[in-house]
């Protein structure tokens, strides 16, 4: 099937006569041993033909080429870098202020006078029992209700009040400084008696029904049952903000919009905390955050990952790492395996015995646990991710050579006895040349099949290790460590685009290597029917 006779249709007699007559033209005519006369195919070409006829294997090859293009060319085309971070602005609610409605009497003591807490308690008792005077710490106090629930307390026999108790709190409208006691007293006695003006220290004050206190048109202080305090110490809450906030809260609104004097608008959310009967005011602020777990968009076809990096780009670079590691590990395995297996098979005797016992020992070493232990050790040592990758390749390669050595040895043992080797020996070709020039090429078909298959399994091992967090490490991407995110159940449930594409890539690549390997095995086997 590998050749066809091109001359079949020509008339043989005619051809012979022309050959005889035209001896000069004989070169151009097809002589019997002319290559052009019979279209021969080299064994290699036959293998290629058989391979190409295997549709499944060709599919595998196409997948592999696609994956290689995706990983190596894709990384060049993509506009993003492997570890480029993306940010987004997020509306985050931050604690801005706290509001508390005062439901208990508050005591304010006069400057330079003491009104200890024992006296406060005695006062409450006296008020409940309807007494006008009470004793505390050897001092007798009297009190008067000078306004609506505004109690002023005097030390008996003194004119100036020692303190007062009220539900309202007086705060300054212009700064955070405290309002002097005397002014507080004046304000409250005016406000709680429904008066609209009073004078204090040569200034004329007016009081409006909301509790605002003005000198002329300028507000200087206010009295209110609500205490509004900023969370951050550097924030000053203006009177109008507090006022609007309190109105909004007393109306039962939970959303609050405020425009300050500079025209800056902001949205606030009010939440009630039943535990300490206060309202928390949350300001909605724009904050720059990592754009993590973003669903696929036009900019990021596969969304972004945990660190806010473009998933598709990570996938491309991950493929690169996986393929690189696969190829290098298999290369190490093959070089070691071919040299040791070749020596063992060719030399025989004690060399063979020694090498085969080493192979036996290596076969017995449980490789996965060993790699896990070494990975954990490298974790503890904080090995640089790049060097770690190198170690990983060396370890995998060093643990993988025995199977190839066995294969090569077995092949060589059977080939060694064949006639062409006797001929090579008889020709006086030196041993190394006999091994590497005559024996090894005959092993190559088997070797290629094994290498292709072990490429797939190496990629799988690397991915498993990276998945466990013991292989390729951040910042480097690998298909295994991309899927690692799935350990978080929230990611498993909600973000398919994080782990399914990487898994599909991995499966496709390994499957393709196996399909191609399988196809090659069939193609190399001359006994195959097709």
């Amino acid at each position: 099937m590998g050749y066809e006779n091109k001359d079949q249709k020509e008339n043989p007699a005619e051809k012979i006569s022309s050959m005889d007559l035209n001896s000069e033209n004989r070169e151009e005519e097809y002589s019997l041993n002319d290559d052009r006369r019979v279209r021969t195919l080299s064994p290699g070409a036959l293998v290629v033909r058989r391979f190409l006829r295997n549709r499944v294997a060709v599919t595998g090859l196409v997948i592999l080429i696609a994956m290689a293009l995706f990983s190596f060319v894709g990384g060049l085309i993509t506009p993003y870098k492997e570890d480029q971070l993306f940010y987004r602005y997020d509306q985050q609610k931050k604690q801005y202020a706290a509001v508390k409605e005062n439901t208990e009497l508050r005591y304010v003591s006069a400057t330079k006078k003491s009104f200890p807490s024992v006296a406060q308690a005695k006062f409450v008792l006296a008020r409940k029992t309807g007494k006008d005077t009470f004793d505390a710490k050897g001092t007798t106090y009297t009190y008067k209700e000078e306004g609506e629930e505004f109690y002023v307390i005097y030390v008996e026999g003194e004119e100036e009040p020692a303190g007062f108790a009220a539900y309202e709190i007086v705060s300054s409208s212009v700064s955070d400084a405290d309002v002097p006691f005397a002014l507080q007293y004046q304000i409250l006695s005016a406000f709680l008696n429904g008066k609209e003006s009073f004078s204090w220290e040569d200034e004329e004050y007016t009081v409006n029904p909301d509790g605002g206190v003005f000198i002329g048109d300028e507000e200087v202080a206010y009295a209110s049952r609500y205490i509004v305090q900023p969370i951050m110490s550097d924030v000053f809450l203006s009177r109008s903000f507090k006022e609007e906030l309190v109105t909004s809260i007393s109306e039962g609104e939970m959303d609050f919009h405020f425009t300050d004097e500079d025209g800056t608008e902001a949205d606030y959310t009010v939440t009630y905390d039943a535990a300490n009967t206060s309202y928390a005011v949350l300001q909605t602020v724009e904050t720059k955050v990592f754009d993590k777990y973003h669903t696929p968009t036009k900019e990021h076809w596969l969304g972004t990952d945990r660190n806010g990096m473009d998933m598709l780009t990570r996938l491309m670079y991950g493929g690169r790492v996986s393929l690189y590691i696969g190829f290098i590990v298999v290369l190490i395995e093959t070089v070691l395996g071919v040299i040791l297996g070749g020596l063992s098979g060719y030399c025989g005797g004690w060399v063979d015995n020694l090498i085969m016992r080493i192979v036996d020992i290596f076969y017995c070493i449980p490789s996965m646990p060993i790699i896990i232990i070494l990975g954990a050790a490298m974790d503890a040592l904080r090995v640089d991710p790049q060097i770690r990758m190198l170690y990983l390749m060396l370890i995998l390669g060093f643990l993988g050579w025995p199977s190839i050595a066995r294969l090569v040895r077995g092949q060589i043992l059977s080939l060694r006895e064949q006639e062409f080797m006797t001929a090579a020996e008889a020709n006086g070709i030196r041993a190394s040349r006999r091994i590497f020039r005559h024996l090894i090429p005959n092993v190559i078909p088997q070797l290629i099949v094994t290498m292709t298959m072990s490429l797939g399994s190496t990629i799988l091992t690397e991915a498993t290790l990276s998945f466990l967090g013991l292989g390729v490490k951040f910042p480097f991407a690998s298909w295994g460590n991309i899927i690692n995110d799935v350990n978080d159940t929230y990611v498993l449930t909600n973000f398919w685009f994080i782990w399914i594409p990487a898994g599909v890539c991995l499966l496709a690549t390994v499957l393709a290597f196996n399909l191609v390997g399988d196809g090659l095995r069939d193609a190399f086997d001359p006994k195959m029917k097709r």
């Binding site: 017995c364 070493i365 954990a376 503890a380 991915a463 498993t464 498993l492 398919w496 390994v510 196996n514």
Partner: protein, 328 residues
């Protein structure tokens, strides 16, 4: 035969000693260990000795202060008497922890193994008898896909579909939340219920290889002369395949399956870890990551013994099953 087995056993023992030595050297050379962690913690406590003093004391307690070769000999001496020391991580004797965890792995592996045989061998035979048909291609591709499947990816998919979307199974663990309240039968059912996904994972991951192996061997047999003879005799195709061919295919199959029997005790490291099944695989994974030398040492040597045992069984079975093989 006896002499051969004896020779092989001796050989295996020598290999085992070498393997154990290599593993011991590796474990001792590890830069960090559980002991250091403990020593660091202890030295942090107020009024405690310094880290170095703790380290020296702990090393002496655990026999880690000897050189590598005396240490190994001491380990061997104790191991021969079945004393593998106390696990550092689990703070119980190694063998006790092993005994606690190995049986669940064995049950899991055993069920998966039987299912694999029941599914893979018939499919492999069908693929071989219908070579180059669509059925064959489908089975081949499915088999290759199965052993190309990354365990962790497949397990995640199963979890997504059956645990999250359908809610049929828990995400992990061996027992459910209300295990303590269940009756004995209920507890067994609960465990079985939690083992479904891990067993499916194991079966699917391992089935591909067995399918391919069956197909290849069946094809080899089908090309043999005695099959042609059987057909020439006019036997029905059924009889040719299931009587003449399949019996001969059994030779490599039985050998292969027999040699993988010891592997049932080794546990499925990745699968158990993924589903947090407290079998030997998961337990040893945790020990290895924590640097628990006595337990890891025991587990690694145990795995090596299982491998050697598997090889031995394969060789013996080969001679037993196939009357053409005679060992001098």
């Amino acid at each position: 035969m006896k002499k051969y087995i004896l020779k092989r056993l001796l050989m295996s023992a020598v290999i085992l000693i070498f393997v154990a030595f290599l593993i011991y050297v590796l474990m001792r050379c590890l830069p960090t260990s559980y002991l250091e962690q403990v020593a660091r913690q202890k030295s942090m406590q107020p009024g405690s000795k310094s880290f170095d003093e703790w380290m020296a004391q702990l090393s002496a307690t655990y026999g880690m202060d000897k050189g590598i070769i005396p240490g190994f000999l001491a380990w061997c001496g104790r191991a021969i008497h079945g004393d593998f020391g106390d696990s550092w991580k689990w703070t119980v004797p190694v063998l006790e922890k092993f005994n606690d965890s190995v049986w669940i792995s064995f049950v899991m592996g055993g069920i998966a193994f039987i299912l694999e045989i029941l599914i893979a061998i018939p499919l492999g035979i069908i693929a071989a008898t219908k070579q180059y048909t669509k059925v064959d291609y489908t089975i081949t591709v499915v088999a290759l896909a199965c052993f190309s499947l990354p365990t962790f990816f497949f397990a995640s998919l199963l979890k997504l579909v059956f645990s999250v979307k359908l809610g049929w199974f828990d995400l992990g663990g061996l027992v459910g939340r209300n295990y303590e309240q269940l009756s004995a039968a209920g507890q067994l059912a609960d465990k079985a219920h939690h083992l479904v996904l891990p067993i499916i994972t194991l079966v699917v991951i391992n089935i591909g290889y067995l399918m391919r192996y069956t197909r290849t061997n069946m094809l080899e047999v089908l090309n043999a002369d005695y099959i042609r003879t059987a057909r020439a005799k006019g036997l029905s195709e059924r009889k040719v395949i299931y009587h003449h061919a399949f019996r001969n295919t059994l030779i490599p199959l039985v050998t292969m399956l027999g040699s993988s029997l010891p592997g049932l005790f080794s546990g499925a490291l990745i699968t158990e870890t993924l589903y947090s099944i407290p079998g030997i695989g998961y337990v040893s994974y945790q020990s290895m990551v924590a640097g628990d030398i006595p337990f890891s040492m025991f587990y690694l040597v145990f795995l090596a013994i299982l491998t050697l045992l598997g090889n031995l069984i394969a060789d013996i079975l080969y001679a037993v099953v196939d009357p053409r093989v005679r060992i001098a």
